[in-house]
């Protein structure tokens, strides 16, 4: 992965991940996608020795984040991302099964950019992922990060 990643998907459910990849592939959005399968792995990718937080300009254009994750949960990852100067401006979209108000409220409190509930229906799920990818990767204009 020599090129800078464009999309980071943090998702522990292999089937959901596969369906997301499938939807993104159909929209031609998977070329520079990377995935993490739990919160700890995500934090390592972001803040680890070789993490993009340390190298300006290498971060993804958007992070799709599940909330219920092994080891470190999604809210904690979100909190760390939004608390750090270097990663604060990366848009984070929570993509989760949870419709619980407490999760929605807490995510927004921590500074999430969007909160999407995964639909059961594949079409709707696929179109949600596709729209997300299109919006955040192609349409959204992020602020220039220093350097």
């Amino acid at each position: 992965m020599s090129e800078a990643m464009e999309l980071l998907v943090v998702e522990d459910n292999a089937q959901d991940l596969e369906l997301m990849v499938r939807a993104l592939r159909k929209a031609n959005l998977t070329n520079r996608m990377q995935s993490a399968r739990d919160g700890a792995e995500a934090l390592e990718l972001i803040f680890g020795e070789d993490g993009f937080a340390g190298k300006a300009g290498t971060g993804p254009k958007v992070i799709l984040l599940d909330l219920k994750l092994p080891k470190v949960d999604g809210l904690e990852v979100l909190k760390r991302l939004k608390a750090d100067e270097r990663t604060r401006n990366i848009p984070v979209v929570v993509l989760t099964s949870s419709k619980e108000q407490q999760d929605v409220v807490e995510s927004y409190r921590l500074g999430v950019n969007s909160y999407i509930v995964k639909p059961v229906s594949f079409e709707r799920f696929a179109s949600a992922v596709e729209e997300l990818g299109l919006y955040w990767l192609l349409l959204n204009q992020p602020p220039k990060i220093d350097g």
Binding site: N13, L19, T96, K99, E100, V120, A126
Partner: protein, 533 residues
């Protein structure tokens, strides 16, 4: 009854009595000159009458004139019987004769209840002192008469007061536990009730102080306050726990009244008490029961809270984990259709579609169930609601479902209400979507919406001319996942009316339905008020 024992009157001769004063004391003064004797009689501040042996008055002083109402001239020479009330007049001369034969000095106060008759006929209670006087001129009797009407009246008053006091004390003793102590707190009086409750004999209590029955229950400050209060001369009231001789305890409601000397310092304390042991016992029992009840309520609350947390965790888990596999079932079925659809026979594609429909339906059921469960958990907020605009918004939202159909919506008067806006809106959406759904097969659907006042409350209603239902199954109508129609006829999970009912019940209202199969249905509900929540 008065006894008249008026003494006889042995008068002294003429105006020149030469013998000394009445009392035959051993010749102290010797002979008293008659003039001095006369002056003495005149100056005596009591009525004095001197009579001879025959009972005729020889001398009377001004006080006698005043007492009897006769002038001196009217008295002298008359018998003293005229000064006796008429009812005793018959016997008086015999008393007089008896006295004359055995005369002795009779001091005041001996022989009670004597009366004198005045000139105007009225009677005066008197006391009479009789003194026989022997002179060379013969025997005389000197009577000194004192008007005691004032004293008698005072006596009567005192007697009445004492009687009253005695009655009060009898009543008090009958009711209360009474004790009296001196200023030092030494018991000087106890009544029977005191002995009875303390189980001490009177002789064991007198001379002791109240430490004898001290239970040790009250803190030092309590007793100090008591003594300081009564020491200041103020009444103290309170409830005291005492210990009886047999070491049992009793409670008394106590009032201690200090009685003060002129300098304001108490000389005695009177304590009046009532036995409140039973009341105290009941009070303690009530306190214990309350504490027990509170403990149990706290326990149950903790249990409920734990159950609620578990339920929340459960819903959360259902929300998260149950939907993911369904997404896989649906998603990969679709993937097979997309990628390999061409390789499958028609039947195989149909099966995959069926799998997808099942997964999606289960997803819907899970969502509805979660919504239903959440209804019981979330707190209710009551606000004024403009029912009319809520209904119009709901209808606008549902409009796509009746696209291309002929639906006659008749919106009548819709009274505003108070309730949770989100939840009440949900009730209307559910009832109206039902009305639209079940009139689908009607060429001309008619839906009547409105409210009316009935028995002091507002009844809201939605009436349709749709497919209706059999009233025999009406009890199933509001149950979760209960359906009165097959899924092929009318889609749905059977949660809509259950949600409506739960919302209405949480508002302390009622919801009910009337219908006839094929003729339409009417759903009606009321919303309770804040007060009966």
């Amino acid at each position: 009854m008065p006894r008249q024992t008026h003494g006889a009157n042995p008068p002294i001769g003429g105006e020149t009595s030469t013998r000394g004063p009445a009392r035959p004391t051993e010749g102290e003064e010797g002979t008293l000159p008659p003039k001095i004797f006369r002056l003495l009689i005149e100056a005596t501040p009591s009525a004095v009458v001197l009579a001879n042996r025959e009972g005729r008055v020889v001398l009377a002083n001004p006080e006698a004139e005043k007492l009897f109402g006769y002038a001196r001239e009217e008295l002298v020479g008359q018998t003293v019987d005229m000064l006796v009330p008429e009812r005793f007049r018959a016997v008086h001369p015999s008393y007089r004769t008896a006295y004359s034969t055995r005369p002795e000095a009779r001091p005041m106060g001996k022989g009670r209840d004597l009366f004198a008759r005045r000139k105007d006929g009225s009677e005066v209670p008197v006391e009479i002192g009789l003194n026989p006087i022997e002179t060379p001129e013969g025997s005389f009797i000197l009577s000194v008469i004192i008007d005691i009407s004032e004293r008698k009246a005072a006596d009567e008053r005192q007697k009445a007061t004492l009687r009253e006091l005695n009655d009060l004390r009898t009543a008090l003793d009958e009711h209360a536990i009474v004790a009296m102590t001196d200023a030092q707190g030494t018991i000087v009086y106890v009544n029977d009730k005191f002995c009875e409750i303390s189980k001490y004999g009177r002789e064991e209590l007198l001379g002791q102080d109240h430490r004898l029955i001290n239970s040790g229950h009250h803190p030092k400050e309590f007793m100090r306050d008591l003594w300081q209060t009564i020491g200041r001369g103020e009444v103290w009231k309170g409830e005291i726990k005492n210990r009886a001789k047999d070491d049992s305890y009793y409670w008394v409601d106590t009032t201690i009244v200090p009685f003060l000397k002129d300098d304001g310092k108490p000389h005695h304390y009177v304590a009046v008490r009532a036995d409140i042991t039973e009341r105290k016992r009941v009070e303690e029992q009530v306190l214990e029961l309350n504490a027990e009840l509170e403990r149990r309520v706290a326990e149950r609350t903790a249990e409920l809270e734990a159950a609620n947390r578990e339920l929340e965790a459960f819903s959360y888990s259902v929300s998260h984990d149950l939907r993911a596999p369904l997404r896989a079932v649906d998603g990969f079925s679709q993937a097979v259709l997309d990628d390999f659809g061409a390789l499958l026979p028609e039947e195989g594609r149909h099966y995959l579609q069926t799998i997808r429909a099942g997964a999606q339906r289960m997803g819907q059921l899970i969502d509805d169930l979660l919504t239903f469960a959440r209804l019981s958990r979330l707190p209710l907020t009551r606000q004024p609601i403009d029912t009319d605009s809520v209904v119009r918004q709901a209808l606008a939202e549902l409009a796509p479902h009746s696209d291309g159909r002929s639906v006659d919506l008749r919106i009548g008067d819709l009274a505003p209400c108070e309730g949770d806006p989100g939840l009440i809106r949900q009730v209307w959406v559910n009832l109206l979507s039902n009305a639209l759904k079940y009139t689908r097969q009607r060429e001309a659907a008619v839906i009547d919406i409105g409210s009316r006042a009935e028995d002091g409350e507002t009844v809201y209603y939605v009436t349709d001319n749709g497919t209706g239902f059999d009233m025999r199954y009406s009890d199933k109508l509001f149950g979760v996942f209960q359906r009165l129609h097959r899924a092929e006829e009318f889609e749905g999970t059977g949660v809509g009316l259950a949600i409506a009912q739960r919302v209405i019940h949480r508002h302390r209202g009622r919801i009910w339905a009337e219908a006839e199969l094929g003729q339409g249905a009417t759903f009606q509900f009321t919303l309770g008020t804040e007060e009966n929540q």
